[in-house]
Amino acid sequence: MLFEDIKKILTTPELIGYVFEGFLNTLVLTVVAAAIGLVLGFVVAIVKISAENNKYMKIPAIICNLYTTVFRGTPVALQLFIMVFAVFAIPGFKPYAAIITFGINSGAYVSENIRAGISSVDVGQMEAARALGFTWNRAMINIIMPQAIKNIIPAIGNEMIALLKETSIISMVGATVGTLTFDLNAASNTVFTKVPNFLASGLIVGCFYLAIVYIMVFAIKLIEKRLRASDKR
């Protein structure tokens, strides 16, 4: 029964087409949201770190702290509802509002990962660089960041994997076939209306998620390995 349903989904062009469309949309959602999250997270982390000894950064740092507190402290589903139905309640803007929400939400976590990675580097490294006449920026770029990145990459990898799966809640605000909101999870729901066996569609879609995550894990491991090679510990 299950096997036949799976076979039916895989061999019916219409049904497998939904899955592929969802797969592509999930990838687009994740990649764009991740890009927003990484850029935002990096900027926020730098503002927070530099506020420690730069009084002009104090007020931006307060704003950044408010941002991370709010976006890490409330459910992403709630943020999605507010963004889609209140802040960006513009016809046709739903997928972009969703991407922005995922990106901003992810940025809050990424910023904390980066900040923690930077503060895990011994303060003596910065002191030594400054004592030799490096500016804060040069010390950050040449000495601190190359060491911090080894701690940051695994944490950000985790966050990207979480983000991928988080995009599945987009169907909570209504997924329409043919738009970006139609992600893998929505595809599973649509397929279910045609082949009423949730285990069948769920297993297929689950395999797709698993495949992306596996590729991501592999890529993260590769990057980590390359970074470790440079310090020959």
């Binding site: 011994d122 020959k232 510990r233």
Partner: protein, 297 residues
């Protein structure tokens, strides 16, 4: 060359330095000793502004490294609104100045004349801290070699990046220094592969690679295994022999006595006694110093 004027430093409620003044002359070797927590490391770190003094001034080669402390400039106080008010009320110049200085009475707004003069004095004497630090080498207790750089990169990174030397010049100088400490075979190792004594010697020549005017040592042997202390002290002695200006915070009394021209004993954030090594170690006047020496010697 370095002039410390009445500096105070507090961390929150904890006051670590309570009014320290001293001068370090060219070619002089000064050892700063004292019990732990007395503020000697903080004093040293104030010299290149790794710690910013709460009050007071640091001057290096005639340039003001720290912020301007108005209470050290009577001519500036005379322009302040507070001074003018008190003079008008019938005080003499001397008493008003000392009242203002002792009571720290200058407020945020002291009139345009005062503000302009303050800015003029600060701008006229100011020096970019990053430029000043190039000429003030520092050696840390925990070495602080750049972990992500090889030994040779540790020695050449800053001079090359700051455009002070070409890569070839910097490498030639680095190799010369490595030969001096007998570690040229370690040039491509990462710091994690070196022993503590080797790390500290590389840290010392990293400072030397900038061709500094003065070297500041912050307890350079305190984190070392006993058998490695000697090699670091020998290198420091040989630098002293070259006539390098050195300020050394240390617990190595024998070394201080042998190498230093002057000993500064810091206790409770103040200079409790200072003088030539034979005076300070031979006939200490301060009771706290006598007690300290009886414990460490």
């Amino acid at each position: 060359m370095i002039s410390v004027k009445n500096i105070y430093k507090s961390f929150g409620k904890l006051s670590v330095l309570n009014g320290i003044s001293c001068d370090i002359k060219d070619g002089e070797r000064v050892a700063i000793i004292g019990p732990s927590g007395s503020g000697k490391s903080t004093l040293l770190r104030c010299l290149n502004l790794l710690e910013v003094p709460t009050r007071g001034e640091i001057w290096v080669n005639g340039s003001l490294l720290s912020g301007l402390d108005p209470y050290l400039h009577p001519e500036l106080i005379r322009l302040s609104a507070t001074y003018k008010k008190r003079i008008a009320a019938g005080g003499s110049d001397k008493t008003v100045i000392s009242e203002i200085t002792d009571g720290r009475l200058l407020g945020r707004f002291e009139g345009g004349e005062y503000r302009r003069e303050y800015r003029r004095l600060a701008e006229q004497n100011a020096i970019d801290i990053n430029l000043a630090r190039r000429k003030m080498g520092m050696v840390f207790q925990h070495f602080n070699l750049f972990n992500n750089k090889t030994v040779i990169e540790n020695l050449t990174l800053v001079p090359v990046q700051l455009g002070l030397k070409t890569r070839a010049e910097a490498e030639a100088r680095a190799l010369e220094l490595l030969r001096r400490i007998g570690l040229e075979d370690k040039r491509d190792e990462y710091p994690s592969k070196l022993s503590g004594g080797q790390k500290q010697r590389v840290a010392i020549i990293r400072a030397l690679a900038m061709d500094p005017d003065v070297l500041l040592f912050d307890e350079p042997t305190s984190a070392l295994d006993p058998e490695m202390v000697g090699e670091v002290l020998d290198l420091m002695k040989s630098l002293a022999g070259d006539g390098m200006t050195m300020v050394i915070v240390t617990h190595e009394m024998g070394f201080a006595r042998e190498v230093a021209d002057r000993i500064i004993f810091v206790d409770g954030g103040k200079i409790a006694e200072e003088g030539r090594p034979d005076e300070v170690f031979g006939s200490p006047k301060n009771a706290r110093l006598r007690e300290f020496l009886s414990k460490v010697l």
